[in-house]
């Protein structure tokens, strides 16, 4: 009586066991050693270190995303494209940039009004990427190629002599426009 029931159950059990073993073997045999997810997230962040996301830099923000503490739409310099890349990596929904943390804008660089600078070194201490050179009581200047445009040097300046400017477009940076004039997904993907 029981046999017609038992046989299929047993067969299925054995099959399940076999497939399970097979899958287990395959997953251990072909394991892909992937980058820890924090590194992968950090890789996609623009590294401006601007702290607009509410974390003291890009890596802390990456850690916060990885731990689920922060959302993926808190990085204004990364913009839409950055959010899309993060969503892609983490398998999440793309969502618009959270305006609480700022707006996406053109990449700028800091320019010090060298006449007004009093040489207080406060901006040098604030710069996350050492893009400002100068010494105490000496004029400071920004190395344009190193500046990420994070704005962090603006608040500490006691004489407000730092301005964020959009660098001149060089004709060598010119790119062909998108033929259908649709929105372009620039940035890091």
């Amino acid at each position: 009586m029981l046999m017609p029931v038992l046989i299929p159950v047993l067969v299925l059990l054995v099959l399940a066991l076999l497939f399970g073993l097979g899958l287990g073997w395959v997953s251990s045999r072909f394991r892909v050693e992937s980058d820890p997810v924090v590194d992968q997230i950090d890789e996609l962040l623009p590294q401006t270190q601007c702290a607009q996301c509410g974390y003291p830099g890009c890596r802390p923000y990456a850690q916060a995303i990885a731990s689920g503490e922060a959302d993926i739409n808190q990085c204004p310099p990364g913009g839409e494209a950055g959010i899309r890349a993060l969503a892609d990596l983490l398998g999440r929904e793309v969502k618009p940039l959270n305006p609480e943390y700022g707006e996406e804008k053109l990449r700028t660089v800091a320019l010090i009004d060298e006449q007004a600078c009093i040489g207080c070194t406060l901006c040098i201490q604030a710069c996350p990427v050492d893009a400002i050179v100068g010494a105490s009581k000496q004029m400071h200047t920004v190395i344009e190629s190193e500046c990420t445009g994070c704005d962090l040097c603006l608040p500490p300046c006691p004489v407000d002599c730092i301005e964020m400017i959009v660098p001149d477009q060089d004709y060598r940076d010119w790119r062909w426009p998108r033929p259908d004039n649709a929105e372009t997904q620039t940035g890091m993907v």
């Binding site: 950090d42 623009p46 050492d130 893009a131 190193e146 004709y171 010119w174 062909w176 620039t186």
Partner: protein, 523 residues
């Protein structure tokens, strides 16, 4: 693949091969070949861009008000390549300012404005007396110093190319006279009118690169050219220069396609022809090398075709670099009625100019003036119907329709695996597309986008490493300070062994300190 591609490319031109795809196009070259080439009268003002070559722009070495002679140096590239720019005629430097440079972007750049004095006086020239007697190093130096770049349109510095070829130990020099784009006839006229210079240039380049033989490739329909070049080759008595006629199927004059036709081999992706034992130069470049070495004259002028339905009398000019396009057009009798576009280069790969006030530069092989009728399209853009014509004609054997989808959807990694970088932008796919999708424009766009992304990525990587370095430094400074304090305390403790009272005093102060929070050493 066979064992050694370098060996397989030996004997280039002995057997002709096919390349994938391509198109038979109407040549439209005859209209500009009716008159012999002339030098137009000196224009009132020459506008000489300082960036006419592949590389970084040259820096001016003259100032406004300076008087220069023909051939004087007016600018030189600051990089290791030292590509110079010379004064095309004698006169006064009027200004150094931002002007249109006849580049695809249309964005102006730094130009030297030269007002000719009308005397066209040369500076003292220093030709190489006997090119056969000098070593290749001297020849390469002369080529660099005379500012010669690839005149087929690539404007790759010829000195650098020659050096690459010499270092790679190439065996064959290919001179490209297969001017495959419709309308352009400047190379054809040059080969007809100055065959001896081309053959001499071939010999010099062959010696400079250390090549064993030279192949001059021309199109099969260039009868006049063959009749001019054959005796010129015979006159040299040299047996290692051969003239090969190849089928004119556009874009057979593209460097990679020409190599495939002549050798049956392909230049590896990301590599140079020198990797498979060859170097390819334009015939006009060879002629310029001959003039530079034997007469010491720098590159100041070039053959320019001015043609198209928008021109009254199309013809070829030997034009000074810096001559405004409008000046040449005027010499052709001006425009016909409804001019719609001015193109530098041919109709397949040229780029449009924002105005006719742009100068002739080293890359300007042709000024093509098109009418509205030439550009009229019978149908607006429609969706891709997957007909595969683009793939059939693609000389790089790509799948343009797939690339188009990937680019539209920003799947940049896929475009890489579909080898977008192998696209030579020849325009064949565009021309056969029944849906009239501007495929080449998409590929231009995508290449720029990918370049920008890799630039952004490297900027981000750079910023990251700077940030990490700074963090490390701050940490180190903090650690150093802590260490120093610890050492000082230790020293105090050591001394404390001498006197108990001192030790007690220290202990008292320690406990007091511990009650207050210790100050951050860093802030």
């Amino acid at each position: 693949m066979h064992s050694d591609p370098v060996k397989l490319t030996r004997g280039a031109g002995q057997h002709l091969h096919h390349y994938h795809g391509g198109l038979r196009l109407r040549h439209n070259k005859k209209i500009s070949c009716l008159h012999p080439t002339v030098r137009p009268p000196l224009p009132e003002l020459l506008v000489i861009p300082l960036h006419q070559h592949l590389g970084v722009p040259a820096e001016p070495v003259v100032s406004p008000g300076n008087l220069v002679l023909k051939g004087d140096l007016i600018g030189v590239e600051a990089s290791s390549q030292h590509i110079p720019v010379h004064a095309p005629t004698s006169g006064r430097i009027e200004a150094i300012e931002t002007r249109g440079m006849s580049q695809a972007s249309g964005i102006p750049g730094c130009c030297v404005l030269l007002r000719p004095d009308g005397e066209d006086r040369w500076r003292t020239l220093q030709p190489v007396n006997d090119w056969r007697a000098v070593d290749s190093e001297t020849l390469i130096q002369t080529i660099v110093a005379t500012g010669i770049v690839g005149l087929g349109g690539s404007v790759f510095p010829t000195g650098k190319k020659t050096e690459i070829g010499k270092r790679a130990g190439i065996h064959t020099l290919i001179l490209n006279g297969a001017e495959c784009e419709p309308y352009i006839s400047c190379d054809e006229m040059l080969m007809r009118e100055r065959p001896a210079e081309i053959v001499l240039g071939a010999q010099i380049l062959q010696k400079a690169t250390g090549a064993e033989s030279t192949v001059i490739a021309i199109e099969d329909q260039m009868g006049e050219v063959r009749r001019a070049l054959e005796p010129a080759i015979k006159d040299t008595g040299s047996t290692d220069i051969s003239l090969i006629r190849i089928k004119s199927i556009y874009p057979e004059g593209g460097e990679r396609q020409l190599i495939q036709v002549l050798t049956g081999q392909e230049v590896p992706e990301g590599g140079y022809p020198a990797d498979i034992g060859l170097i390819c130069n334009n015939v006009a470049t060879a002629a310029a090398v001959a003039t530079a070495v034997t007469e010491g004259k720098p590159l100041l002028e070039r053959y320019v075709t001015v043609t198209g339905n928008g021109i009254v009398e199309p013809r070829n000019f030997m034009a000074l670099l810096g001559t405004p396009v409008s000046h040449l057009v005027a010499q052709c009798g001006g425009y016909t009625g409804d001019v719609a576009r001015i193109v530098v280069g041919g109709p397949m790969m040229g780029y449009s100019l924002p105005s006719d006030q742009q100068p002739v530069v080293k890359a300007s092989n042709c000024i093509l003036v098109l009418t509205a009728q030439d550009l009229e399209s019978p149908q607006p853009e429609m969706p891709c119907i997957n007909c595969g014509e683009c793939a059939r004609v693609c000389p790089a054997q790509l799948l343009p329709q797939e690339l188009h989808w990937q680019i539209k959807n920003a799947q940049w990694e896929d475009t890489e695996s579909y080898h977008l970088s192998a696209c030579i932008e020849c325009g064949c796919c565009d021309l056969v597309c029944p849906s009239h999708i501007p495929l080449v424009e998409w590929f231009h766009f995508a290449k720029g986008e990918i370049r920008e992304q890799s630039k952004q990525r490297s900027l981000a990587d750079h910023a990251r490493s700077r940030h990490l370095a700074r963090d490390e430094r701050l940490l180190r400074i903090k650690q150093d300070r802590l260490d120093r304090i610890a050492r000082r305390k230790q020293a105090l403790r050591d001394r404390a062994g001498q006197s108990r009272t001192i030790a007690e005093a220290i202990e008292r102060s320690e406990s007091k300190k511990a009650m207050k929070s210790p100050p951050e050493p860093d802030s």
